[in-house]
Symmetry: C2
Subunit: 150 residues, 2 copies
């Protein structure tokens, strides 16, 4: 354990709590009825992945597959995504956005940009770059071991 680990972790958790909860609250407000912030993240992952499956999503958001089924069902009922079975391996179900889904996602993405971008003006460009690079490295490290069943 590093010398200052305890203090760092406490400071990190306090900041993390504020930032994530505040961003979430703002996203809830602007997305409104149309979309939850979790649904937005799922659409984002579907958008960024050829042949996206439930298993992939479950690992990406570190959650059981049954949770993914629930979210996907709601997005399906809302007409935002479609399920397609792979003809070669009929166990696999690929998830793709419908035109409506793409439209909702694109609008939400712009709204998110508008919510977050004002904060960037309080920081120097190279500090932002360093901060994000570090965050990405942390994300990479955390994604590595992977492994969560059901």
């Amino acid at each position: 354990m590093k010398k200052d680990a305890e203090e760092w972790i406490n400071r990190y958790v306090d900041a993390y709590m504020v930032v994530t909860r505040q961003i979430n609250a703002r996203l809830r407000d602007i997305f409104g009825e149309g979309l939850t912030s979790d649904q937005f993240l799922i659409l984002r992952l579907i958008a960024g992945q050829e042949k996206c499956t439930s298993t992939y999503l479950a690992e990406a958001v570190a959650v059981g597959k049954s949770s993914i089924t629930a979210i996907i069902n709601r997005l399906d009922e809302a007409g935002m995504i479609e399920r397609t079975r792979d003809e070669n391996d009929r166990r696999q179900v690929y998830l793709t956005m419908t035109e409506h889904g793409k439209s909702v996602y694109s609008t939400s993405e712009k709204q998110m940009q508008e919510v977050i971008s004002p904060y960037l003006f309080h920081f120097e460009d190279h500090d932002i770059e360093r901060f994000i690079t570090m965050f990405e490295k942390l994300a990479f490290l955390m994604q590595e071991p992977g492994g969560r069943n059901n």
Copy 2:
């Protein structure tokens, strides 16, 4: 809007998604039945605040007061906190941890340290310091405007 804002925000959101979900998953695993990660954050806020009220918690976690009531009820039923009415202003209810609550919180805090601290070894001390300082500044900015009603 800054020149690179869009790219930065996309990168931030992608990293943020991975890090928060992974940390949450790990906390779910180690806390087990005893405590949810949201309950842990509430206990943390109660621990760090003299005369903690529901209104304070609602603002701190950017959530309606009725959500706080629900969480507090569960912590109360589990014997982790106590409610005390202010005798001067009987509308106010102060929240304090019981001995049992303190014990659970303290254990959970240690477990959280153990989950997060290994990642620190992958970074230079001064990078960690800069990263956290920046995160704290962001948290400060986001807390400012405040304001969320029930």
